[in-house]
């Protein structure tokens, strides 16, 4: 287990290094230089050269890369050129908004899909199973912005049940803010539904084939008790581990949903700063998201190892 964890941490560090290098190199090939962008078109060549020197833009690529990396680690993330704000505070604020949206999506979908998956697994190949399987697959393959448009048209425009925007008016209570987040959360939840329900279903079917399940029936335990204390308890752990592994997907989904609902989260920030060539923000946001994804995946692996003990990881015994 310890060896496995160490090798995973090493792999994460390597992947993050590759990602950060990729971002850094990408930003270097941008047309125009940093100082010119900051000072505007009327700056003299001398002014540009002085600022370039001050910013360290005249240093070789490697030196700049490592000083940037050092700045990132120590929390010195620089200033956004587009928004004129310190990047650290900007990203942390947007991250908070995104986490709230993601939390709403998780809280809505996890219980529903786990229950649907277990119910489907209990009656394998029954009508409910077919419905959950086909529904899950169809919802998973449809892009978030497509389901988002359909949901908006039905629930916000047709029925007027929910607001069309995702951001509540300033000064609203927490409850009202949550109400505005229901509609954006559903497309994210749709894509997750298929994965989670499939996992819960597979776990349930697995349990039904175990001898202890038969023993429980033959002992004459009531069906409800069997489902709660045997099926759910054993089908849940792998499902929990899979849920933690969905963060990679979730970050991509957030970019799309935040763009559709014009929600000021970190996904929208990344998209706007990339298309607006706001380099300091792009670099910091990418590395932050990369870090979150890698840590979540590590957490998923650890959860899997702890919750599903019969699966041994990385040959460690």
């Amino acid at each position: 287990m310890r060896n496995y964890l160490l090798s995973r941490v090493g792999q994460i560090a390597l992947t993050l290094l590759v990602v950060s290098l990729l971002v850094f190199v990408l930003c270097q090939v941008l047309p125009g230089n940093l100082a010119q962008t900051i000072l505007g078109p009327h700056a003299t060549a001398d002014q540009v050269a002085i600022l370039n020197h001050k910013l360290g833009a005249d240093q070789p690529l490697w030196t700049r890369f490592f000083s940037w990396l050092k700045g990132f680690v120590t929390g010195d993330w620089g200033q956004s050129q587009l928004l004129q704000e310190p990047v650290f505070g900007l990203i942390m604020g947007r991250l908070g908004d995104s986490l709230l949206l993601a939390a709403v999506a998780f809280v809505t979908i996890v219980p529903i899909s786990v229950i649907a998956g277990i119910a489907a697994g209990l009656k394998e190949a029954g009508p409910l199973d077919r419905f959950v399987s086909i529904g899950g697959v169809s919802l998973t393959v449809i892009p978030e912005f497509v389901s988002g448009v359909v949901l908006l048209s039905i629930f916000a425009i047709g029925l007027h049940w929910l607001p069309v925007t995702a951001v509540a008016p300033p000064g609203s209570s927490f409850g009202v803010r949550l109400e505005y987040l229901i509609l954006p959360a559903i497309p994210l939840a749709f894509v997750l539904f298929g994965y989670i329900a499939r996992m819960a279903r597979a776990g349930t079917i697995d349990v039904l084939a175990q001898p202890y399940y038969r023993t429980a029936i033959l002992k004459g335990l009531p069906r409800r008790r069997i489902v709660v204390s045997h099926v759910t308890r054993n089908a849940l752990p792998p499902t929990v581990a899979v849920i933690a592994g969905q963060v990679t997907y979730l970050v991509g989904g957030l970019i799309v949903v935040e763009a559709l609902f014009n929600y000021p989260g970190i996904g929208k920030l990344l998209l706007d700063s990339a298309t607006g060539h706001d380099i300091t923000v792009v670099q910091a946001a990418t590395l932050t998201l990369g870090l979150i994804i890698m840590l979540a995946n590590l957490l998923a692996d650890v959860l899997f190892a702890v919750l599903v003990p019969r699966i041994r990881l990385g040959g460690s015994r």
């Binding site: 792999q11 390597l14 992947t15 590759v18 990602v19 990729l22 971002v23 990408l26 930003c27 090939v29 941008l30 697959v137 169809s138 393959v141 449809i142 892009p143 978030e144 912005f145 497509v146 389901s147 448009v149 359909v150 908006l152 048209s153 425009i157 069309v164 990679t248 970050v251 991509g252 970019i255 799309v256 763009a259 559709l260 990344l270 998209l271 990339a274 298309t275 060539h277 792009v282 990418t286 998201l289 990369g290 994804i293 890698m294 995946n297």
Partner: protein, 311 residues
């Protein structure tokens, strides 16, 4: 002559009552192989033609392929014709799906918008299959250090969140049809390489690869001539599954404004363009959204049918 009785026994009438054909001279190995392939192919075609999943998927996909190729023949209006006096019109007999903010006919734009996704997704998939299959073949055939190196690289590549990288690359470098195709292909290479590597690994265990090596066939030759034909089914299945993801990714990128630029009637692009007017003319967003949903579900149904038939 001692084995005469057993031979006669196998020549006994089959359960269906027909007398079997004279087996004639024994089949050569090549004939046997050809027969097996033919029988296998007939089985697959039969499974596919009786699978409702595959047929409904194929019909939907073929419909959109036809529209993508021949949209000029089927559109009721010019998809780019701007008519400011008739903007935001609800569906009517002249404009079956209404008009958008510039008075353009929504139905015509939806029909004309099929072609970009139909171009990007298959092109990216084919590109990814070629490179992924090559990598998987090389890794599985040579094994050892080559295998470890390729598969480690694949692991690292697969851990990278694709949409973030796409936003970075296309947002910073700017977007073009070719950029989008190459990027999606790069994202799919690792998964295909892994699948092919798995199948090749099984094949290499079989005697014929060893025989080819003993015969002195060169590595590349025996890889392409001996191994590749035996792993085409998994490659084909993987390719159709990837095709579904390619449509998903291509549409998402163009929705994010990282695909084609306006006034392209591309579905994803149109949805983001019309987003501001959703309260006035929801039909201008719903139409491309539903078109995209049917196409994606169609591709996935076909892929699912294919996967089951090849099992």
């Amino acid at each position: 002559m001692t084995d005469q009785p057993t031979t006669r026994q196998t020549l006994a009438p089959e359960p269906n009552g027909k007398t079997p054909h004279d087996p004639g001279p024994p089949e050569s190995p090549a004939d046997a192989k050809a027969n097996r392939t033919r029988r296998n192919r007939r089985y697959i075609i039969k499974t596919l033609s009786t699978s409702p999943t595959f047929i409904s998927g194929a019909v939907i996909v073929l419909f959109w392929v036809f529209v993508g190729v021949a949209w000029q023949l089927v559109v009721p209006h010019d998809p780019q014709a701007v008519d400011p006096f008739h903007s935001f019109e609800p569906p009517s007999s002249t404009h079956l799906l209404g008009t958008d903010n510039l008075g353009r006919d929504v139905l015509s734009r939806v029909l004309a918008g099929a072609q970009t996704v139909l171009l990007i997704a298959p092109a990216a998939t084919v590109l990814a299959v070629i490179f992924g299959a090559l990598l998987g073949l090389v890794a599985g055939y040579y094994g050892g250090i080559v295998d470890i190196f390729v598969m480690r690289a694949v692991d690292v590549l697969m851990a990278i969140p694709t949409l973030i990288v796409a936003v970075l690359v296309l947002g910073i470098l700017g977007s073009s049809l070719l950029n989008v195709i190459i990027l999606i292909a790069v994202f799919f290479v690792p998964q295909i390489a892994r699948t092919v590597r798995g199948s090749v690994g099984d094949e290499v265990q079989k005697g014929y690869v060893e025989a080819a090596r003993m015969r002195g066939e060169r590595g590349f030759y025996s890889m392409v001539i001996e191994v590749l034909p035996n792993v085409t089914s998994p490659i084909l299945v993987e390719a159709t599954i990837r095709l579904g993801y390619a449509v998903f990714t291509a549409a998402t990128l163009s929705f994010l404004g990282l695909g084609l630029q306006p006034p392209s009637p591309d579905w994803g692009r149109t949805i983001s363009e019309q987003r501001a007017y959703i309260e006035i003319s929801p039909w201008a967003l719903l139409a491309p959204a539903i078109a995209l949903a049917t196409f994606i579900v169609g591709v996935n149904l076909a892929a699912d049918g294919l996967r089951k038939a090849f099992k």
